[in-house]
C-alpha cells in the first residue's frame, strides 16, 4: 500500500482510497452509525440488525481491500463482529450502556490504530505522511497527535457523562452517535490537507456539537447555549468559507500547501490575499475563541451539559488549533509577515482579557469558560512562533489543556450531581473536609491550569514560553506571565473556598459522592496531570516529532 501515494497521477478521476490512513475516521464514523442503528432498532431487533450490519460491513471491506492485507482485515472484522454480537446480546435491554461501551471501544480502537500508524510512519511503513486521497487529507504528525488526544478525551467524556446524563434525564439515544460523529469531524479536520476538507471537518464537528449542547431540551440555559453556538458557529463558518473562496479566487486551488505558495507569489493580487487571509483568520479565531471573537464561549460552556462542555473544551480546541496550525503555520509560512502580527496581538489580548474576566465570575463553569479563553491565547503563541518548536509546544499545550479541562469539568459533573444545580464558588465551601480526595484532585487541576510546577500545566506553559523566546517574541512571554499571575488569583480563590472555608449547613446534609465512572475518569486525568508534569520527556518527544506537516 506504500505504493499508493506514488501512484497518484494528476487528473485521476476516482482516487484510490487509502483505507489504512483514514481508518480512524472510518472507525469512529462506522461506530457512530452502528450505535445509532442499534438504538433505533428497538429491543427485539437489536441483535438481528447487529448481525446484518456486521455481515454487510464485512462484504464491503472484502470488496474494497486488495489482496495481501485481506486475511488480517478479515480476521479483525470477524473479531470485531463477535465482540459486537456478544455485547449486543448481553446489553440488549440496556441500550444506553450498550451505546456507551461501543463508543468507548471505538475510541480505544482509534487510539490503537493511531498508535500503529504512528509506529508505521516512524518506520516508513504503509502510512505515508504526505497528502492522500487526491490531496484531500494528510496523515502527518499533527493529524496523528490530534487523533490521540481526541480519542482519549472521548473515552473520558463517556465516563464523565453516563451517570450525569442519567440523573438529568437527558441520556438520549443520539448522544453517543453524536459524540462519535463530532469526533470524526475533529480527526478529519486535523488531517485536512485541503481548505474544503477543513470546512467539511468544521461543519461535521460543529453540527453534532450544536445538537449535543442543546440536548437538555427542557433547560433554557442549554437551549440558549445551543442556539448561540449555532448562530455564531454559522457566522464564523461563513467568514471562513468566504475566506476560502477568496483564496480560491486568487490562486485557483484549495489545496493548502499549493494555495499558500501561490498566495506568497507577488503576482497574486494583494487585495485578495489580504482579504482571504483576514477572513480565514476571523473564522479560525471564532473557532478557537480568541478575543474579540470569544463572546460565545462563556455562554455556551455554561449552558451546555457539563460533559459536553468538557469534550468541547478538550477536543474541539485541539482539532480547531490543529487546522489553524495546518493552514497558517504549515501552509502560509511565507506570508507570516501578514498574519503573525495580527495573531500575536489577538493572543496577547486574549490572554489578558480571558484572565481578567474570569476573576469576576462566580459560576464555576463560566469561570472555566473564561479561563478556556485565556488558555487559547497561550496556545496561540506556539502558532505565531512559526517553527517546529512552536508547533510542538502548541500541540503539547493542547494535550495538557485537554487533560486539565476534562479533569476540572469532570469534577463539576460530579458536584452538580450531588447538589443538583450549577456550582458557584460558594457551593464548594468545606469540600476539602467533606470529600478530601475530590477536592484534592480539583485543587490539582486548578494548580495545573495556573501553571504551578509539578503539574503538566507548568511543563506546557514552559514549552510555550520557550517557543516564544526562541522566536524572539519575548513580549508575548511576558504577557503570558502577567496573565498567569492574574489567573492564579481566581484559581486560588476556588482552592481557598474548598479548604479554608467552613462548610455551610445545607451542604453538610448532602451525601458524599460515591466512587463512580466519572470519578474514574477524573482520576485518570489527575494521574495524567502529575505524570506528565513530573516525567514529560516521552510525550514532549511525541509532540515535537508530531510537529511536521505534509508537504
Amino acid at each position: 500500500m506504500s505504493a499508493l501515494a506514488q501512484q497518484l497521477p494528476a487528473g485521476v478521476e476516482i482516487p484510490e482510497i487509502p483505507w489504512a490512513a483514514i481508518s480512524p475516521e472510518l472507525t469512529l464514523f462506522g461506530a457512530g452509525i452502528l450505535v445509532l442503528l442499534l438504538d433505533t432498532a428497538g429491543e427485539r431487533r437489536r441483535s438481528a440488525s447487529a448481525i446484518a450490519l456486521v455481515a454487510l460491513l464485512g462484504i464491503a471491506a472484502l470488496a474494497a481491500i486488495p489482496g495481501e492485507a485481506a486475511p488480517v482485515v478479515v480476521a479483525l472484522l470477524i473479531g470485531a463482529g463477535v465482540v459486537q454480537l456478544a455485547l449486543t446480546l448481553w446489553l440488549h435491554t440496556r441500550p444506553r450502556l450498550l451505546g456507551a461501551v461501543l463508543t468507548v471501544l471505538a475510541f480505544a480502537a482509534t487510539i490503537g490504530i493511531a498508535a500503529w500508524q504512528y509506529q508505521a510512519a516512524a518506520n516508513g511503513g504503509p502510512v505515508a505522511t504526505e497528502s492522500l486521497l487526491a490531496d484531500m487529507v494528510a496523515v502527518d504528525g499533527v493529524a496523528l497527535f490530534t487523533r490521540f488526544v481526541v480519542a482519549g478525551a472521548g473515552i473520558i467524556t463517556v465516563l464523565l457523562g453516563f451517570a450525569y446524563l442519567q440523573d438529568r434525564r437527558i441520556h438520549r439515544g443520539e448522544y453517543y452517535p453524536l459524540l462519535l460523529l463530532t469526533a470524526t469531524g475533529m480527526t478529519l479536520l486535523a488531517s485536512a490537507a485541503d481548505l474544503l476538507m477543513v470546512f467539511l471537518g468544521i461543519e461535521i464537528l460543529s453540527l453534532a456539537l450544536y445538537v449535543m449542547s442543546g440536548i437538555a431540551r427542557r433547560d433554557m440555559a442549554s437551549q440558549e447555549s445551543a442556539f448561540k453556538y449555532l448562530l455564531l458557529g454559522a457566522f464564523s463558518s461563513a467568514f471562513l468559507l468566504y475566506g476560502i473562496a477568496l483564496v480560491y479566487g486568487a490562486t485557483g486551488t484549495t489545496h493548502i500547501a499549493t494555495a499558500g505558495a501561490e498566495l506568497a507569489d507577488p503576482a497574486t493580487p494583494a487585495g485578495l490575499v489580504f482579504a482571504g487571509i483576514a477572513l480565514m483568520l476571523v473564522g479560525f479565531a471564532f473557532k478557537v475563541a480568541l478575543v474579540p471573537f470569544h463572546m460565545w464561549t462563556p455562554d455556551v460552556y455554561q449552558g451546555a451539559p457539563t460533559p459536553v462542555t468538557a469534550f468541547m473544551a478538550a477536543a474541539t480546541k485541539v482539532a480547531a488549533f490543529a487546522a489553524f496550525l495546518r493552514v497558517f503555520t504549515g501552509g502560509m509560512e511565507q506570508l507570516a509577515w501578514i498574519w503573525v502580527p495580527a495573531v500575536s496581538v489577538l493572543a496577547a489580548v486574549t490572554m489578558i482579557v480571558g484572565a481578567v474576566l474570569a476573576v469576576v465570575q462566580d459560576d464555576l463553569k463560566r469561570m472555566l469558560g473564561y479561563s478556556a479563553v485565556a488558555h487559547a491565547g497561550y496556545a496561540a503563541i506556539g502558532l505565531v512562533a512559526v517553527s517546529d518548536i512552536g508547533t510542538g509546544a502548541t500541540l503539547f499545550y493542547l494535550l495538557a489543556y485537554a487533560v486539565m479541562s476534562l479533569g476540572s469539568f469532570g469534577i463539576l459533573t460530579i458536584l452538580e450531581r450531588r447538589q443538583r444545580k450549577a456550582i458557584a464558588i460558594a457551593d464548594l465551601r468545606g469540600l476539602g473536609q467533606r470529600a478530601p480526595a475530590l477536592a484534592a484532585m480539583f485543587a490539582l487541576f486548578l494548580l495545573s491550569l495556573a501553571g504551578i510546577p509539578g503539574t503538566v500545566g507548568f511543563i506546557a506553559k514552559f514549552g510555550i514560553v520557550r517557543a516564544a523566546v526562541d522566536a524572539g517574541l519575548v513580549w508575548l512571554a511576558v504577557v503570558l506571565v502577567v496573565s498567569s499571575v492574574i489567573a492564579a488569583y481566581f484559581y486560588i480563590r476556588v482552592i481557598v473556598a474548598m479548604f479554608m472555608d467552613e462548610e455551610p449547613a445545607h451542604l453538610a446534609d448532602l451525601p458524599v459522592p460515591p466512587a463512580s465512572a466519572a470519578s474514574t475518569g477524573v482520576s485518570v486525568a489527575a494521574v495524567a496531570v502529575i505524570a506528565l508534569g513530573v516525567l514529560p520527556p516521552a510525550v514532549i518527544d511525541l509532540a515535537e516529532r508530531a510537529a511536521t506537516f505534509a508537504g
Binding site: 476539602g432 478530601p436 494548580l447 514560553v465 506571565v481
Partner: protein, 536 residues
C-alpha cells in the same frame, strides 16, 4: 558510601513519607504522626551522613548526582552541595523532627497538616541542592503550595488574606526569575539549564543589570528586603506555630542563599554596581525592622519584624563583597534560623496555653514558669547577638565585612544590634518580670515534650556560640572562591562604578587581612568570643 545517592535520598525520604501519609486514613492520627516523626528522623540521619561525607576544605560541589530529566529542553536533575548550601541543608533537616514534635498534638486535619509539612521539607531541601535552574525553579515554586496551605488552613483569623498575599508575592517574584532564567538559557546558546554552564556566560552590563533585577525580584521578596517585606509580618503572624518556624528557620534563607548562589556569580558586574544600593537596603532593613519591632504590641509580630532586621544583616554580608562578610552571612542564616525558630516555638507554646499574643496581657511569667522563662531568655540573648551565643558568631563577621567595604554602613548596622537588644529585652521585661498579672496567672510550665523541642536548639546555640570553627571551615573555601571571582571582575572592569562602592581596595584586602591561612579568620572570631566570655 560513595555509591549511595545521598542527596536524592535526602529528598526522597520526606517526599515518600508525604505520599505515604496521603494514603493513610485520616482518622489514624497517631500512626500518621509516628510515620512523620520516623520520616523526619531518617531525613536527619541522611543529612548527618551528608555532613560526614562532605569533604572539608574543598570549594566545589560535592556528592553530585545527575540524570537527564527533559533532555529535549536541556533540563537535568542535578544535585550537589557546597559550603554555601551544606549548612542550610543541615539546618532544614535539623528542624524537621523538631517541628513534627512541636505539632505532636495537631489533631485538626492532622493528615493534611503532616502531608504539607513533609512535602515542604522535601521541596526546601531540594531548593538548596538543585544545580539545574529549572529544577531549582520547580522546587522553589513547589514550596508555595504546602506553605500556602499551612498558613491558609491552619492559620489565625486573617489567614486567608495572609495566605493569598504570600502566594501572589512569591509567585510574581518566581515568574520574573523564570523569565530571567529563560533569557540566560537562550543567551547561553548551550541549550542547557545547568548551573555551571550558565555561570560561565558572557553578559553585557545592561543584560546583567536587568537579569540581576529579575532574580532580585524572587530573592528580595523571599529574604525579604525592605520595601518587599510586607507579606512577612502577615504570614508570620497568621501562620500556625510550625508554619512560622519553617518560614523563619528555612524559607527566608532561600533569599540569601539565592543571592550567594546565583546573583553574585552570575552577574558580577551588576552586583558590583548595585552593591551600594543593596547595602543601603540592607541597612534600612536592619534599622527599619528593629524600629518597627520595638513598636509592636503583638509578640509574634515583634519576632516577625526582628526577622526583617536580622535578615538585613544577611544582605549586608552578601553584598559587602568580601569573604568575611559573605561567610558571616551564611552563618548568620543558620543562626537566625535557630534563634528565631526557637522564639516562634516558644511563643507558640505560650499561645497554645492562653490564645493571646498581646505583650500587654502578660506580666511576671518568669515567676510562674521558670523553665519557659529561662529558655526564652537564652533564645532572646542568642537573637540579640550576645557574645558566647550563636547570634554573635554571624553578625560580628558581617559587621566587620561591611565596615571594611563601606564603613558608614557598618556603623549604621551596628546600631541595629543595639536596637535588637532594646526591643527584645524590653519585651522580655514587660512580659516576664514584674508582678504576676493578666494571662500569666495560672500558666503552666513547659511539658517535657516542649522542652524536648527547644532543648536541641538551645544546645546548638551554645555550641555554635562557643565554637563556630567547624561551620566556617565548611563555608569559607566556597565563599572564598565566590568572592574572588566577583572581585576579579571588579578589578578587571575599569569602570567608574568601582568608585561608588566606597573603597574597593578595602573590600578586596579585607579577606587577606582577616584570613591569613584558611580558617584562621574563624579562630580570630572565636577568640573574640572567648575574650568576651572571660570579661563577663
Amino acid at each position: 558510601m560513595a555509591d549511595v545517592p545521598l542527596l536524592t535520598l535526602l529528598l526522597a525520604v520526606p517526599a515518600a513519607v508525604a505520599l505515604l501519609i496521603a494514603v493513610m486514613p485520616r482518622e489514624a492520627v497517631r500512626p500518621i504522626r509516628s510515620v512523620a516523626m520516623a520520616g523526619s528522623l531518617v531525613t536527619l540521619g541522611v543529612a548527618v551522613a551528608v555532613l560526614a561525607a562532605f569533604e572539608v576544605g574543598q570549594p566545589g560541589f560535592q556528592l553530585e548526582e545527575e540524570v537527564a530529566w527533559i533532555p529535549q529542553w536541556g533540563i537535568s536533575y542535578r544535585l550537589g552541595v557546597d559550603g554555601i548550601s551544606l549548612l542550610l541543608v543541615a539546618l532544614t533537616a535539623f528542624f524537621m523532627p523538631l517541628v513534627v514534635l512541636a505539632a505532636w498534638h495537631q489533631h485538626e486535619r492532622a493528615k493534611g497538616f503532616f502531608v504539607a509539612l513533609m512535602a515542604m521539607g522535601a521541596a526546601m531541601l531540594g531548593v538548596f541542592l538543585a544545580l539545574d535552574l529549572i529544577l531549582f525553579y520547580v522546587l522553589f515554586e513547589a514550596m508555595l503550595v504546602p506553605m500556602y496551605a499551612l498558613i491558609g488552613i491552619w492559620g489565625g483569623k486573617q489567614r486567608r488574606y495572609a495566605a493569598i498575599k504570600f502566594f501572589l508575592y512569591t509567585l510574581v517574584g518566581g515568574l520574573l526569575m523564570l523569565v530571567a532564567i529563560l533569557y540566560l538559557y537562550w543567551s547561553a546558546g548551550a541549550q542547557s539549564f545547568d548551573y555551571d554552564v550558565l555561570r560561565g556566560l558572557e553578559l553585557t552590563g545592561t543584560e546583567q543589570l536587568w537579569l540581576f533585577l529579575a532574580f532580585f525580584a524572587a530573592f528580595g521578596i523571599k529574604v525579604p528586603i525592605f520595601p518587599f517585606h510586607t507579606w512577612l509580618p502577615d504570614a508570620h503572624t497568621e501562620a500556625p506555630t510550625v508554619g512560622s518556624v519553617i518560614l523563619a528557620a528555612v524559607l527566608l534563607k532561600i533569599g540569601g542563599y539565592g543571592f550567594l548562589r546565583f546573583s553574585l556569580p552570575y552577574f558580577p558586574e551588576a552586583t558590583i554596581s548595585l552593591a551600594p544600593w543593596m547595602l543601603g537596603l540592607g541597612v534600612i532593613g536592619v534599622l527599619y525592622g528593629a524600629l518597627v519591632a520595638m513598636m509592636q504590641r503583638d509578640i509574634k509580630r515583634l519576632i516577625a519584624y526582628s526577622s526583617v532586621s536580622h535578615l538585613g544583616f544577611v544582605v549586608l554580608g552578601a553584598f559587602a563583597l568580601n569573604q568575611t562578610g559573605a561567610a558571616g552571612s551564611v552563618v548568620q542564616m543558620v543562626n537566625h534560623g535557630l534563634s528565631t525558630g526557637a522564639l516562634f516555638l516558644l511563643v507558640g507554646f505560650l499561645y497554645d496555653r492562653t490564645h493571646e499574643r498581646a505583650i500587654a496581657e502578660y506580666s511576671g511569667i518568669m515567676r510562674v514558669t521558670p523553665v519557659f522563662g529561662g529558655l526564652f531568655l537564652i533564645t532572646a540573648m542568642s537573637s540579640l547577638a550576645l557574645p558566647g551565643l550563636n547570634g554573635f558568631t554571624g553578625e560580628f563577621p558581617i559587621l566587620l565585612g561591611t565596615f571594611a567595604a563601606v564603613p558608614l554602613a557598618g556603623i549604621a548596622a551596628t546600631l541595629g544590634v543595639i536596637l535588637a537588644a532594646i526591643y527584645l529585652l524590653w519585651a522580655y521585661q514587660r512580659m516576664f518580670h514584674g508582678p504576676v498579672e493578666g494571662r500569666a496567672v495560672g500558666l503552666t510550665d513547659l511539658t517535657p515534650r516542649e522542652i524536648g523541642v527547644v532543648a536541641p536548639i538551645v544546645v546548638l546555640m551554645v555550641a555554635i556560640g562557643l565554637y563556630p570553627g567547624p561551620l566556617y571551615d565548611r563555608v569559607n573555601p566556597t565563599v572564598e572562591v565566590l568572592v574572588e571571582e566577583v572581585v576579579a571582575v571588579a578589578e578587571g572592569a575599569d569602570v567608574a562604578t568601582v568608585d561608588q562602592t566606597g573603597d574597593p581596595a578595602a573590600g578586596s584586602d579585607a579577606p587577606i587581612e582577616l584570613d591569613a591561612p584558611a580558617g584562621s579568620d574563624l579562630d580570630s572570631a572565636d577568640d573574640d568570643d572567648e575574650d568576651e566570655e572571660v570579661s563577663r
